[in-house]
């Protein structure tokens, strides 16, 4: 690699390279971040939304991006992007699936009438004090809701797969980038995080996910069905931020594909945060059930025996 190319790689904001910091020639440093430049264009939010509408299915969009990337690249041990750090999704805009949802707007998704009615009822119920979250039983959130949870995250690219980690219930999405295909259609069954395959285009990881379960994008957000599929483009936007462009396709619930942009901000420049094991059922005081009117109630508290004796909160 020429000196000029090495310098160019070192100033690319999408990468943090220890080789750059030490002045080591990138091509000679093992296990550092020097992917070649990608071919997929950086698009505006409006352009990405339009790109989603141009394709009937998530698979069609994924194939189009793969063609734009000229087939993409497979990583080698000497060319792995460095996404080191502990991150979290900013919570200052609330927890809507689309972080850019304007205040007072329930969702930016264009829902089918049936699913719009479901969302309207959910929001009306919450106003009456009725709310139940399906993960109250300690189930994992599942993808694409996985994208919205406000806890600690790590993103770990390796040559053949990338691990997208959420500390909540020790939840790991594995994205296979070794060239394998999805499992055959006849052998698919619904999974919490689905089946994810992908390819690299420079510093961008492009992912297609199918074989998902139905769920909700987040509380007071719309439902999705087990037909949902997603395309994501993950990249390090700057030294402190990893982003994901996300297109959701789910014909029963979405009148058109839903494009959103997620961002995860690095929290640990001093590397002082540690992710621990998450046992959702370790404290009886957190156990809840769904009442007959559909809302949430605690089963009982260890510290309030009178409440338990009186049966308050019991099923």
């Amino acid at each position: 690699m020429t000196r000029h190319l090495t310098l160019a790689a070192c100033v690319l904001p999408v990468l943090l390279s220890s080789a750059c910091q030490t002045g080591t020639r990138v091509a000679e440093a093992p296990g550092v971040s020097t992917p070649p430049a990608g071919s997929i264009a950086q698009r505006t939010k409006e352009q990405n939304a339009a790109l989603g509408r141009e394709h009937k299915t998530a698979w069609d969009l994924y194939q189009a991006l793969k063609a734009e990337a000229k087939g993409g690249q497979t990583l080698t041990a000497s060319v792995v992007p460095d996404w080191t750090g502990v991150y979290s999704r900013p919570a200052d805009k609330g927890f809507t699936f689309d972080p850019d949802t304007p205040a007072g707007v329930a969702t930016t998704a264009k829902l089918t009438p049936e699913f719009q009615a479901r969302l309207d009822k959910r929001i009306a119920d919450v106003k009456r004090g009725i709310e139940w979250d399906p993960i109250s039983t300690c189930a994992p959130p599942g993808h694409p809701r996985w994208l919205t949870e406000p806890f600690l995250r790590e993103f770990v690219p390796t040559p053949n797969q990338t691990w997208l980690i959420n500390e909540m219930v020790n939840d790991i999405r594995r994205v296979y980038t070794d060239g394998r295909d999805h499992v055959p259609a006849e052998d698919r069954y619904p999974l919490y995080n689905g089946d994810s395959i992908g390819f690299w285009d420079g510093g961008k990881l492009v992912v297609h996910t199918n074989q998902l379960q139905g769920g909700i994008y987040q509380r007071q957000n719309p439902d999705y069905t087990d037909q949902v599929e997603t395309v994501e483009i993950w990249q390090r936007a700057d030294a402190a931020t990893v982003t994901a462009d996300v297109w959701v396709y789910d014909p029963p619930s979405l009148a058109e594909p839903w494009y959103v942009k997620q961002a995860y901000v690095r929290l640990d420049p001093k590397q002082d945060l540690r992710i621990r094991y998450w046992n959702c059922a370790e404290n009886q005081n957190n156990a809840v059930h769904q009442t007959q009117d559909g809302t949430t109630q605690f089963n009982g508290f260890s510290f309030d025996p009178a409440r338990e004796r009186n049966g308050a909160g019991k099923k």
Binding site: S88, R89, P90, A91, D92, F95, V126, G129, I130, E131, W132, D133, I135, S136, C138, E149, P150, F151, L152, E167, M168, R219, V265, L267, L273, I275, R276, W278, N279, C280, E282, N283, N285, N286, V288, T295, T296, Q297, F298, F301, F303, D304, R307, A312, G313
Partner: protein, 132 residues
Amino acid sequence: MSRRLLQAMTVLGMLGVVGSTRALAHHSAAMFDEKKTITVEGEVKEFQLTNPHSWLLVDVKDKTGKVTTWGFEAEGPSTLSRAGIKPSDLRPGTKLTITGNPMKDGSHAAIWVNAVRADGKAFSPRAGFAVR
């Protein structure tokens, strides 16, 4: 419920003090009344650092000397850590004043909004969701 507690509930309710961010992990906050706050004075009985929610148990003594244990729910240990709240900050016996959104059914439990130790140091779990 002590007269002092009732007074605190009334005053804070009139002020419209409302938590700004819902408790998120795991379950809805529908069983809490987020339009109300209560404030009690007591001492820490136990700090349960657990997922998906931690609980701060506080013993509250009324004028007759009767002790009632209140539970204040917060997010899990990593979010508390991000809020700067450590186990050593709230050891058993620590005296504090704590404010929360109470249960609608009158149980002695609330969402932990803010706790102030006798030395003036404050602990607000929801600050743990900040990313900058």
